[in-house]
Symmetry: C2
Subunit: 479 residues, 2 copies
């Protein structure tokens, strides 16, 4: 639109040029960072998580952030904290949240490009973490530089704090402790949470909530060793069969989760949000392609696909294993069987309640002769949704509309993150700012990010830091 006299009421914002001029440098830095395999859930990669934190800290210092620290305070994986006070003592204080740990890469044989040798193909940058979440954290660094360059300021118009943790993909198991230990450092008026996608490039959205998650591994144990099924088959309980019956009982025929009380306190989204969801273009083929090339939709009866993923809770099997899984036949009754389960939660649900309900459910579905154990994987992540009428939500939406040149609607995301913990601990609203795409293959082979979206995101952030003080002070958006 820039330079078009018919759009003179929307002149090109100075933040755009300030972003574009730094694009090559931005990309080169991001590629260096993506080459570090910071898989936080894998102890073998904990050294890489530390290297990744050090890389980010150095990049922030090079950008002029006056106060940069690596919080390496085990058992938490290293986090990076940075602080850039505004010269205006009344400026709102904004805490940006992101993470620099990445998902494991298996099945690594399904990647068509190496996960940790970032490759630029056209507009796409491929590599583990390109979208989730290093690319979007790097976008913030660029956004701050563009904000300062575009406004000629030497300090940002808002006091900025950055908190980039190192174990989000493991469910942020120590974030509550970190927030408690660093309350003064992290004190703020607003959290900007960057780890969510747009609905699509064509129909961009601002996220207003994330599902929570509770994950646990259930282990059913019979004997101490696998036993020849000709020897004992038919005379002792088979843990794999019992596990299958337990998993089968998790849902009814309508796809509703059968943990007692699971739906008791679920809060539905507002009518405004549901109307936006219904108005978004939905292409079943694209959805399936982006869902690992699935063959068909399914889910809880009575809800649309977007509602099933954004505002309805679920129970999913993430993995299971028992007995002999190698080549050929081995006719054994397995000694044990294990399933990794995760429950996605929506506002009104709490991980601790689900954990308790699961314990009862497992006890009720463990037959005589087997022992059940639940290996909990942390406390889980509560769900979160922001009030869509909050002025910061409007400021984010307007900044994105300007940078993307398109209307921006409301969406949510079916993924999970520590937004609720940040909200509850810091006592402030959390708004979402993210430009990932649903087909970025996060948590899957061939993760990528669309580079022009990162650049538009940086531009929008630069605008956001300029406009946010007025919006939070009650000002209307510019006409």
């Amino acid at each position: 639109m820039s330079g078009d006299p018919e759009n003179s009421e929307h002149p090109e914002p100075p933040e755009r040029a300030a972003t574009t001029v730094r694009a090559d440098e931005f990309l080169a830095g991001l590629r260096d960072w993506l080459a570090i395999p910071s898989i936080g859930v894998d102890p073998a990669h904990h050294g890489d998580v530390a290297r990744s934190a050090a890389w980010l800290a150095e990049a922030l210092r090079a950008d002029g952030w006056p106060d940069v620290r690596v919080w390496d305070e085990g058992p938490a994986q290293p986090a990076v904290y940075a602080h850039w006070p505004s010269a205006d003592p009344d400026a709102p204080v904004v805490l940006v949240y992101g993470h620099h740990d990445v998902q494991p890469v298996d099945p690594v044989e399904r990647w068509t490009r190496p996960p940790f040798a970032p490759t630029l193909v056209g507009e796409e940058l491929f590599g583990r973490g390109a979208s989730d979440d290093k690319g979007q954290v790097a976008m913030h660094l660029l956004g701050v530089r563009a904000h300062l360059a575009a406004t000629g300021r030497t300090t940002p118009a808002v006091t900025l704090k950055l908190f980039v943790e190192g174990e989000e993909e493991g469910g942020s198991p120590h974030i509550a402790r970190t927030l408690a230990d660093h309350g003064a450092d992290l004190d703020c008026d607003l959290v900007v949470f960057t780890d969510t996608p747009l609905y699509s490039r064509e129909a961009p959205t601002v996220c207003t909530g994330q599902r929570g998650v509770y994950g646990a591994e259930v282990v059913l144990t019979g004997g101490v060793t696998d036993v020849h099924s000709g020897r004992a088959g038919g005379s002792i309980p088979n843990p794999a069969t019992a596990l299958a019956r337990l998993v089968a009982a998790l849902h009814d025929e309508d796809g509703r989760v059968q943990l007692p009380g699971f739906y008791d306190h679920v809060v539905l989204p507002t009518d405004v949000e549901r109307a936006d969801y219904a108005s978004l273009p939905f292409d079943e083929e694209v959805w399936l392609t982006n869902s690992g090339r699935a063959r068909g939709l399914s889910g809880e009866t009575g809800w649309s696909t977007l509602e099933r993923v954004w505002v309805r809770p679920t129970a999913e099997v993430n993995g299971l294993v028992a007995g002999y899984t190698g080549p050929g036949l081995k006719t054994v009754v397995p000694a044990d069987a294990r399933v990794k389960l995760s429950f996605r939660l929506v506002p009104g649900q709490r991980p601790e309640h689900v954990a308790e309900a699961l314990r009862g459910f497992v006890d009720a579905h463990t037959p005589e002769g087997l022992r059940a154990e639940i290996v909990s994987r942390g406390d889980g992540v509560p769900p979160y949704a922001v009030d869509v009428a909050h002025p910061a939500v409007g400021a984010v939406r307007d900044a994105l509309e300007g940078a993307l040149g398109k209307p921006v609607r409301f969406s949510r995301t079916g993924g999970s993150g520590p937004a609720a913990v940040l909200h509850e601990t810091l006592g402030v609203p959390v708004v979402y700012f993210g430009v990932a795409l649903p087909d970025d293959n996060i948590h899957a082979p061939d993760e990528r990010v669309v580079v022009p979206l990162l650049l538009s995101g940086a531009e929008a952030l630069a605008v956001l830091w300029r406009t946010l003080p007025g919006r939070l002070a009650g000002g209307e958006p510019p006409a």
Copy 2:
């Protein structure tokens, strides 16, 4: 009892001394053989299967067998054939069946002794294959030598043929072809089948039947790649959940298998056999200990444990796997899920009927949006039971009673072997001769064999070859 004048009506048979004198030499040879990891189902060990066959052929030649051949006629793993004609042209022709391939050793970390460095501890020889089946095949070699030495003969009283195959643990997938290709070589009046256990050392038995088995792997596939459960969880079918529901539907609440028609033609054992089963000492604790230290009994309602394992058919999960099974969490919806199933079959059932019923069952339990595939693992093994009134069964029982000094009752075994194929192809009865024990840990870590039982078994075989011609001719057992 030997030398006791009160037992002069049971003088020590000459076969006992002829066996004992060769015990050390026997053990040394067996240990060499057990050191060869002839895992027939693992292509990485096919060279070892060939080495194992060569070892056996050489041992037979050294013992004086006049005609020894290795049948290495892919795709079948190498088998060993040997022939020692009796000088008596009217002597019955007996084919001894066994196998020299062994089970895989995983979970190898649960072995307390190395599986392929045979270790003698007191009366027990530990090593993969010690009991199943190399130890018992070696027992036959010793038995023939003892028979000749005890009788002063230069050829056995029966014409002996030996057929030791190399892929029994894989379900003998090519045995029908081998039997067809070598019909003249294998022509005989009786098969002596050696791959079964006694009920116990204290209550020895002669086996009269084995269950059959049909094994298959069922694969349910959704998409092409695992997908982030936050991204798509709740909106697409989860193959692991569907697989669990399929497995859960395999049995009803009474433990009865739900494949259509599964029980239609089942033949029950005779009253004589059921009375023997009921009279055998049964110690639940021992049974559980020998069943991988299981925690409790279970199975089809209305049948005893021995009946459940010996004369009732089953469906068992041998292994299953889906999604992420590594350390920590990975919240994915798996692309596929797979289960290895095996069905133990009893007389009246046929593997091909079960295969057909399974196909229908899987189709009926595959939800929309998933694709089902059944990876069949060969044609399966039919069940077999011998007529307990056959004179050869009596001859085996009497020979064992003499060697073991105890009454010998009837039992069966829940395992499977190619007895039915031998019976159907060669058109002759198959009798069982085995001295393994249920607690030999076959198909499990720390497999072992009780050496004195192998020696008593060799003695009984030496007696059997001497007495069998008369028994088959209609003679009564000696008073």
